[in-house]
């Protein structure tokens, strides 16, 4: 995975994206025991000039020039299907901005904080998100005040509390 992260960092270095952070299943794995997932979700802030549907084109063109192939909605970078997801709302924007820097072997990368990871999952709320919320709450060190502040800010507090009542009461 280190080679993949190096290439993603190179995408940033080339100025194709301004910033990025890993979310989804791989970010979840950083905080909890391993769970089954197949892709590496990279949420990114595009260069200011890029807008609309062509937002992914410069990244994918550059990667294709490097010899990486497309597979469904992913691009396979050094053996790992990577999905680049542009920031699509304020919550994701803040999750990327507030992400923490971590190291995988010798390579630096950025990962959503667990509190943001939960908030994003409360927002998307697919069955797998609900499972992951429970795992993160059970196994990771969560700053509850910080989490509630984020949920309140993005109008997700009631949804989260309903979910908690269903699972823990």
């Amino acid at each position: 995975m280190e080679k993949t992260l190096k290439i993603i960092n190179e995408v940033k270095k080339q100025g194709l994206i301004k910033n990025y952070a890993i979310g989804g299943g791989i970010a979840t794995i950083f905080y909890v025991e391993s769970i089954l997932t197949y892709d590496l979700g990279v949420f990114y802030r595009a260069s200011e000039e890029e807008e609309g549907v062509t937002i992914l084109a410069p990244i994918y063109n550059w990667l294709k020039q490097k010899g990486y192939k497309l597979h469904r909605e992913h691009i396979i970078i050094e053996g790992i299907p990577v999905q680049f997801i542009p920031i699509y709302n304020e919550l994701i924007k803040n999750a990327v901005e507030e992400a923490v820097e971590v190291k995988y072997e010798e390579t630096k990368t950025r990962i959503f904080k667990p509190e943001y990871l939960i908030a994003v999952m409360v927002q998307t709320f697919r069955p797998k998100d609900r499972e992951r919320i429970i795992k993160i709450l059970d196994e990771a060190d969560i700053n509850r005040d910080y989490l509630m502040k984020i949920l309140q800010k993005y109008g997700l507090k009631e949804k989260f509390e309903r979910f908690m009542r269903l699972f823990y009461e």
Partner: protein, 66 residues
């Protein structure tokens, strides 16, 4: 303590141990967890090798054996 109470205590302890076990796994390094992820992908692949929804097992080099 009655047999029923003893049984209840044993079950409670079992669940506590299970919880602790998962928390210990959560403390593994990121690199170790990725190794375990690839192992999970291989297991899932072997269970449903002909599934139409078959997903790709990561083709990455792992520095030590899983």
């Amino acid at each position: 303590m009655s047999n029923r109470d003893q049984f209840k205590t044993k079950i409670e302890n079992l669940f506590k141990e299970k919880e602790l076990f998962h928390k210990e796994l959560a403390k593994l390094s990121f690199e170790e967890k990725i190794k375990k992820l690839v192992r999970l992908q291989k297991i899932a692949h072997n269970i449903h090798p002909s599934s139409k929804k078959k997903q790709m097992v990561w083709k990455i080099s792992l520095k030590s054996s899983i």
